[in-house]
């Protein structure tokens, strides 16, 4: 992400220090992660020390300080999904992708994350692959979804 885009985002929020989280959210959304150069720029422009930015980016789960994979897999671990077998789904996702929850593989193929609730509780278990929701999934179907997604990128 170039510095011009970062500046634009900061200007949109009038450069106020209280908008730090909103600025970081916007950068995270566009760039999928927060590189150090970008954070340094945010620190300068908003006049917020890097230590505070570090606190914010590690406190809130949305932010990532490392690059993300081409495919982002989110496994909902909400209670409704849990009682309908979300644990099995997460195991399957980790098995198929070879990536543990919260991690990304070195080839930047997959990032696997767990989320605490997507609010689609009636459809549990739910996984979101590259923004697309899949409800009522079983391990076998999860394998299918992930395999399809793997093929399409090659």
């Amino acid at each position: 992400m170039d510095i011009g885009t970062v500046d634009q985002i900061i200007d949109k929020h009038h450069g106020e220090a209280s908008s730090l989280i909103q600025v970081l959210l916007e950068i995270q959304r566009q760039n999928k992660w927060l590189p150090k150069t970008v954070l340094t720029r945010v620190s300068e422009k908003l006049d917020v020390p890097m230590s505070q930015i570090q606190h914010i980016t590690t406190f809130y789960k949305t932010f990532s300080l490392v690059p993300k994979g081409r495919h982002e897999v989110h496994v909902c671990m909400g209670t409704a999904c849990h009682v309908r077998g979300a644990e099995r789904i997460l195991d399957t996702v980790e098995e198929v992708t070879g990536v543990k929850s919260g991690e990304t593989d070195p080839d930047l193929n997959f990032s696997v994350e767990t989320v605490n609730c997507l609010g689609c509780c009636a459809l549990g278990p739910v996984i979101v692959v590259d923004g697309e929701y899949h409800g009522n999934v079983e391990p076998a179907e999860t394998v299918e979804v992930l395999k399809n997604c793997d093929c399409s990128c090659e």
Binding site: L20, Y60, T62, R84, E87, G119, A122
Partner: protein, 636 residues
């Protein structure tokens, strides 16, 4: 669009909108909440627009994409008015037929109707489906009637009448009085009387005051706030403005969870429209009342549902709670008096102002008035959002509305109140749901999650699950919460792995008491509840794990094994194909065998094995039989 400058102009606009609408005109509505998006309503909407055009009914039929209907597992949902014919699980390829048969010929398409899972009977009309019939949708009802992107739709159903009444007929004191008299209690969890809270903020000294909507619905398993915010953002905003007028605030914030993108989109559209009409901004309706509102997205932290943490987050800081007092009502956002309520609470305000405190008091129990929305999910036939008067019994909600537990399974418990709540066993199903009765039963109302569990759910594992969640979400500021939860989690994890000892239960109780008593905020104070309530009602399950290394629900992975019974296996190969771990050895006409070392205990083989064979057995607390001898494996 023209700015509306007075209540008379608002009335005139409302009349104009109504005069252009013919209640007898066919109207096709499509539920477009998040869950229906997940089941494909976008493609269905495209198909509807295309077919209306190609079948030449685009001018005669009104098409409306509404908010969440609440019957989420059955989505996408299409309802055809004026009759109210309800079609479920609609696919794009059904649309041509719906238009040619139902819209044009008034014929019902049987296959898309609701089928009762118990009786097998069809239901044609939405209002007759037991899931809807037994609800009282005073707050959620608008979701079915309006397009959240259309302020005109909200006006057509009587929107902003409460605001007009507030601004022109009531003093701030009267508004607070009305909410106090209505005995409205906060829907976010604690059930604190909203009117009293408003009064604190109103009387607090200071020129600048803030009002905040808490839409950081973090409780896993609860999604009514998302649904209200997505489906009727105008209702939330109207409630917020009434509250702002009452306490003397001109600036509001809406804090929305980052996981709810559609809620943010719909809310931002609603704010823009309201600003264009002059229903937000300076001198609203010529009353002299100014009010602006900003949206603030959360960044993924459960603790931000706690009000002092939420305010910190609004200020751009990490969401760590403060000790109270001082309460936000006196010292809140940027040190100014601030009133925070959750989405459902704000949504109740227009109703109370329009219909009066007496009406509101006529619904509910002695100390809990009005209705409450629950998200009825888990192992229940009809899952979705359910709005019932306070005082309805758990049994009515789970069986009359929810249609009971699916399949042949037995009901075990219902979990209410999210991670701060507790589990209620079958013998307490006649408990009335209100703030006090649920607390007495060892659970709590919380924000309204209601997760039904059958015999396959292990309650020790559920307690472990909640503590794992809370341990992950504890902000770490105070020691009792950070360490107490971590230690309890350690013990519970050991128990689910069969490594528990008999003294563990006593230690758990001791840790629970300390964490409850010494934590700084509600997260830690209520964190032991899942442990305490499961220990209270399901101690035998804990003991089975500890003494017999047995998980009675056959769910804890470390304590179960899968075994193919040789005399039942027909060598069909279904389990072999599905096993993701390649742990099944099969072959044509050979009895299949599971390699226990490779097996990851995912259970795919149980799902895959045809019901008629039922050859895969799940075992716990007993040794797995030695695999069948090679020479005995050939089938005929």
């Amino acid at each position: 669009m023209p700015r509306i400058n007075s209540s008379a102009e608002l009335d005139a606009l409302r009349q104009e909108i109504l005069s252009q609408r013919d209640p007898d005109q066919p109207c096709l509505t499509l539920c477009s909440g998040s869950a229906c998006h997940a089941t494909g309503c976008g493609k269905v909407a495209a198909a509807i627009e295309e077919e209306m055009e190609s079948q030449g009914v685009a001018d005669d039929v009104h098409f409306r994409r509404t908010g969440c209907h609440g019957f989420c597992e059955q989505g996408p949902i299409v309802v055809i008015y004026p009759e109210g014919i309800c079609y479920l699980k609609v696919k794009p390829e059904d649309i041509a037929e719906i238009i040619s048969e139902t819209i044009k010929e008034k014929k019902i398409i049987e296959r898309l109707l609701y089928v009762d899972p118990n009786s097998g009977e069809n239901t044609t009309l939405e209002e007759d489906i037991p899931f809807y019939k037994n609800q009282e949708r005073l707050v959620l009802g608008f979701n079915l009637k309006i397009d959240p992107k259309s302020l005109e739709d909200y006006l057509a159903v009587g929107g902003y009448q409460a605001l007009v009444k507030t601004l022109f007929e009531m003093t701030p004191e009267q508004v607070v009085g009305e909410v106090k008299d209505a005995n409205l209690r906060g829907r976010g969890g604690a059930g604190f009387p909203s009117g009293v809270k408003w009064d604190f903020a109103r009387k607090a000294p200071g020129d600048k005051k803030y009002v905040v909507v808490n839409c950081d619905e973090g409780d896993p398993g609860a999604y009514m706030d998302r649904s209200l915010m997505e489906g009727n953002p105008y209702g939330v905003l109207e409630g917020l403005m009434i509250g702002a007028y009452a306490i003397g605030s001109n600036e509001g914030y809406v804090y929305v969870r980052q996981e709810y993108p559609l809620a943010v989109d719909n809310l931002e559209i609603a704010i823009k429209k309201a600003e264009d009409y002059g229903l937000l901004g300076q001198d609203i309706l010529g009353s002299g009342f100014d009010f602006t509102v900003k949206v603030h997205r959360g960044a993924g932290a459960f603790i931000c549902g706690e009000e002092t943490s939420l305010l910190k987050s609004l200020e751009g800081l990490p969401g760590e709670p403060n000790a109270r007092p001082p309460f936000p009502a006196t010292k809140g956002l940027w040190g100014k008096p601030t009133n925070i309520n959750n989405v459902e609470t704000w949504s109740n305000i227009p109703l109370i102002i329009s219909k009066g405190a007496d009406f509101f008091n006529s619904i509910g129990t002695e100390k809990s008035k009005g209705t409450k929305i629950f998200s009825l999910v888990g192992k229940v036939n009809n899952t979705g959002l359910v709005e019932v008067p306070m005082g309805a019994t758990l049994r009515d909600i789970i069986y009359k509305i929810g249609g009971g537990v699916p399949g042949e399974k037995k009901f075990k418990a219902v979990q209410t109140g999210g991670p701060s709540g507790g589990c209620i066993p079958e013998n307490l199903l006649d408990t009335k749901v209100d703030f006090d009765e649920l607390t007495q039963a060892g659970a709590m109302m919380g924000s309204g999650g209601m997760i039904v569990m059958d015999e396959d759910t292990c309650l020790v594992d559920l307690a472990r699950y909640f503590l794992a969640f809370l341990s992950d979400e504890s902000c770490g500021k105070c020691n009792p919460c950070r360490e107490g939860i971590r230690q309890m989690l350690k013990i519970l994890t050991n128990i689910t792995k069969g490594l528990g000892t008999e003294s563990d239960l006593e230690l758990l109780l001791e840790l629970a008491e300390t964490t409850k008593g010494a934590s700084l905020c509600a997260l830690g104070k209520t964190a032991p509840n899942p442990v305490l309530s499961t220990l209270r009602y399901f101690k035998d399950e804990y003991e089975a794990h500890i003494k017999e290394q047995r998980c009675p629900a056959l769910s804890c992975k470390a304590l179960i094994a899968f075994y193919i019974e040789p005399d039942k296996c027909k060598a069909c190969g279904a389990c072999f194909k599905q096993c993701p771990a390649e742990a099944i050895e099969g072959g044509k006409k050979r009895i299949h065998v599971i390699d226990q070392d490779k097996c990851t205990r995912c259970g795919s083989c149980v799902d895959a094995c045809p019901k008629a064979f039922g050859a895969v057995k799940v075992m716990s607390g007993e040794p797995v039989p030695v695999a069948i001898a090679e020479e005995a494996r050939n089938l005929g």
